[in-house]
Amino acid sequence: MSTLLRPPAAPVPSGGTPRDRARPDEAVDGGRGGRPTSERGRASAARRRERRGTWKTTLAVGLTMGFALFSLSPLLQGIGWWFATMAMVGVLLGVSALLRARGVPEVVVVGAAVLLWVAIVVVLYAPGTTWFVLPTLDTVADLSADLAAARESIAVQEVPAVAVPELTQLLVMSIGLIALVSDELAAGLRVPALSGTGPLAVLTIAPLVRRDEPQVLVYLLTGLAFLLVLWTGARIGDGRSGSGRIGAGAVGAGPHSVSGSRGGPTPSIRPAAGGRNPLLALGLAVAAVAAMVVLPTVTPGLTAADLTEQGDGTPFASTYATGVDPTIQLGRDLRRSDPVLSLTYSTSAEEGLYLKMVNLSDFSGGTWEPEAPYDGVEYQGQQFGTPPGLAADVPVTDVTTTVSIAGLRSDWLPLPYPSQRVDSLSGNWLITPNTFTITDLQGDTRGINYEATSLAVAPTAEQLAAAGATVPDDLAGYLQLPADLPPVIAQEASTVTAGAATNYDRAVALQEFFRSGQFRYSLAAPASNGYDGSNAEMIAAFLEKKEGYCVHFSAAMAVMARTLGIPSRVAVGYAPGQTADSTADGRPVYEVYTDQLHAWPELYFEGIGWLPFEPTPGLDITPPDYSLPDYAQQSTTDSAAPAPSSTSTATNSAGPERGDVGATQSAEQQVLAQVRGWSIFAGVLVAVGLIVLAPYAARRLVRRGRIRRLATDPQPGTLAWLELEDTLDDHRLQRSHGDTLADVEQRLTAENMVPVDALVRLRLAAEYEQYAPPGTAGDETRARIARDLVAVISGLDAQAQPRDRALARYLPVSLWRRRRAAASTGALVP
């Protein structure tokens, strides 16, 4: 102790001599009782010091993950999955934190956590597959089987899905890994800003799968928890000597802490220059949240294929890629308030064309599921071949269609059926032989152009009547029905088709049944009554309520056809759209919007092949000629109509119902929708901005109020000093509980950061109020105190680095932290 014991009559400390006190390091080691004898022991002790407080960051990471994970609750039933996953996260993070606190090298911490992850996964999900304790190929096979089951479960189930064990396992494994990575980024590598990507990836899943109202509360909580990560992350290692921070604070240290401001070498007041930039991270987080809320409303899309792009960061994101019943997604897209242009095309056909993207062929599980595109053949411009079932004598004409895709994001290419060739296509594409659909599994078709050559099939009435009497064996899959199909469906089908003689007649009768007026088109009814979707129960409910949209009509007709022995499948794609004003090569250009996503049944008749039907009423679509009852009576030489015909027109039909096709909007409505979209965007930005600026404004109000109160407060000096200390806190100039007013003053003056005279006057005024005998007063006037306070604060602001200044302004920690506690008021022991 050298110090301030100095010659008399020096009321103002002249500052200066660094205190000659023991290095806290020794004391810390002493406290543990073990003298670190080896280099290793010393290194570990140093690491311990350096990592002081990392457990708080780890805790905050866990909290962030917990909130983010909760955002999945609209997708999954129950809450058990959340607890299971958080238990995994808790164990992993807990062990990491413990090891870090013990001063174990970071590499070992990571290694141990990963090993623990593997161990838990193996023990829980693949027990008995190990060779002694080592995972084997069996283990891997077991786990991947589980994950495949989870993927299938996602594909089969509709939201909210039942959290079957495989799903929970997927969550436990993936979220556990994400938490590990996030924690390592925040607490291990000390880049807490980056650690937000993990929780963010989790947050993005829900809005993309299910586009309903954003879960603002969950976002906010996650955001707050993330701020906590940033905050605690910026404070890791407080108290380590030579950190360059003022006083190397003993914040949070107990009364026995032997570290502390008095121990460090010459204290410095500037925060350490580190690579942390919480503001940048905050900006990123804000942008991400805003994007998350807004993106779903401004980009068109089919299906959750978006997830392959958006869900990055999750190792298993691709399992979501084909997941989620596409028909559900379709309904959601139809309900969008602001349809967006999906694609345009021009065709040599006389009418607009159905553009098919994918077939749902598999109903054996009780839900219409996509035909697996994985068996596909690589497409390199070759001919598709003869369409299945098409006999040589059926009249066909070639049709060329030029498609340019605008906003559609999809795995699948919209094509007329049956296409024969696709030109001008680049990239890797797979063709599915049975359905003539093309996919790239990339999920992004935006901006590509191609030319498709397809056939217009025009069977004669005789051919139709003769067709479909037999079903080839290889089409048996298209007749599969689940064993537990509600009987009402088959009964209804046979009732409707009682008078029909041939399969073709039965199909026509089915379409008539749906279009006869007893069914009503409604986008809202199924969702609000709980039978949205296309599984067996939903179809039964739909037949009873008689309200639904294309998904229900097409699924119901396809299932009913199967009960009658007609091979069927559901096609998903775009309805023909409406002609635009422009033309290309003298042909009209058709515009297709997101709300013209459509589903229709395709029925198979041996000798003709797959024919589309149009059971959905209430839309402005004329069914194909051949599917109308009086087609058979027409002249057999009539070769006019190509398969599906549409009479969509550009700007009419502002009917009460919004249609899959042709329910176009007036220009004004479109503008309105755009305006609404942008105002949502702007509103979200403003709201986020307000939230970000709230602490700044609150801090300004507090300061202004205090300066105003200086004029009347009984203790103006103390008030001014408290405001000064709060400002120091805002600037992250760390102090310890034990710093006296003079200590603070000395450090500020040592760095020449503030006007010294003003600071000394402030200190004296506060000291007089606090410690002088009652009745005596310093010679400070209130006005001068206020002036001095403002001068010191602006001096601090002016001296700070721009980044620190911004941090002080926008994240003023003094708002939620009280640094200086009152001393306990015990009586003096005699």
Partner: protein
């Protein structure tokens, strides 16, 4: 040496003349410090602490290796204030009566007559106090606390100011009786001189060319002035907040895991008294927490017994460990800064 002197200074502030102004206080103490610094170079802190102990009416324990000026400091202090000084070289065969005095049968008067021992002086330098037997040590220690000597049932008061400056050699421990913890508690402060730095040592050589500066030392305050200084320091105000602060610190020493024995209530009193003097030295009429926390180590450290483990960890029998732990306590004890309600 007598009752007159006694009544003039000892009975508290009321009996003394008007306390000095702080300016005068500063002038006189400054003169004493100048004197002290003239004989020991570069040891401002030790000199200041000695002065504080003198004015706070405490006793000083100087613990250091031989030859760094322990005795010189004590003698210079005594000379500067114009008091009587006596020096006792403690040895193993020193008897209690050598310290306190002895009653001798006077053949002429046919009565016992008290012959005062070495302790009857204003400033008593007890050199190498740890060399004497415990019995002799405790005879001195009783005088320190009671400010009186009891021999043969008669009580002889000691004339204030009374200050014992004991020195102790920490490295040569063979054949010595270290002061027990309980008795160390009676000293207000323990300081160690430490070696002078190079420049101070050089200037020391320079000064001593023309004989010992001790010779030229003159008293700068008399005994009466000293009493006034003492009264002035006593009148320094200590707020409730600072009292609580002191108590918090002292109580923290009693529950600290590295301490087997914490500071005593006497330590609390000593700390406050010393802080008052330090405040006065700085020209302030009230004590602020800075005054307290700078004195924590010199005033409290020697009263504390470290746990065996803490003591074995560092050199000096735990001295360093204790000081570090005390500094930790100071750093962790919140400095009071209260927003009092106007009504209070």
């Amino acid at each position: 040496m007598t009752s007159e002197a006694l009544t003039s200074t000892s009975a508290g502030p009321a009996a003394a003349g008007a306390p000095l102004s702080l300016d005068e206080f500063g002038r006189h103490t400054g003169a004493i410090l100048d004197n002290l610094e003239r004989v020991i170079d570069g040891k401002t802190e030790a000199a200041t602490l000695a002065l504080i102990v003198l004015i706070a009416e405490g006793h000083l324990l100087v613990e250091d290796v031989p030859g760094v000026g322990k005795t010189t400091l004590a003698k210079a202090l005594a000379t500067s204030v114009g008091c009587t000084v006596s020096r006792i070289q403690f040895t193993p065969d020193l008897l209690p009566s050598d310290v306190t005095g002895v009653s001798i049968y006077n053949q002429v008067d046919h009565a016992f007559e008290f012959k005062p021992g070495a302790v009857f002086a204003n400033i008593v330098i007890a050199d190498e106090i740890n060399r004497a037997s415990p019995k002799t040590q405790s005879s001195l220690l009783e005088c320190m606390e009671e400010q009186q000597v009891s021999v043969d049932g008669t009580t002889h008061p000691l004339e204030p100011p009374f200050i014992v400056v004991a020195t102790q050699n920490p490295i040569e421990m063979e054949g010595t009786y270290a002061l027990p913890e309980a008795q160390r508690d009676r000293f207000m402060a323990r300081i160690s001189m430490g070696y002078p730095d190079a420049s101070a040592e050089l200037s020391m050589l320079h000064h001593r060319e023309s004989g010992s500066p001790m010779q030229s030392l003159r008293a700068v305050v008399d005994k009466r002035r000293l009493a006034e200084l003492i009264d002035t320091a006593r009148a320094i105000y200590v707020s409730r907040a600072v009292e609580s602060y002191v108590v918090s610190i002292v109580q923290a020493t009693r529950i600290h895991p590295e301490f087997r024995l914490g500071a005593s209530p006497r330590g609390t009193l000593h700390l406050v008294r010393a802080a008052k003097v330090l405040a006065a030295l700085r020209g302030r009429e009230f004590v602020v927490p800075d005054d307290v926390n700078e004195l924590v180590v010199p005033i409290l450290a020697h009263r504390i017994v470290a746990t065996r483990r803490a003591a074995s960890d560092t050199r000096g029998g735990g001295t360093e460990a204790i000081a570090a732990a005390l500094r930790g306590i100071v750093a962790a004890t919140p400095v009071p800064l209260n927003r009092a309600r106007p009504s209070a």
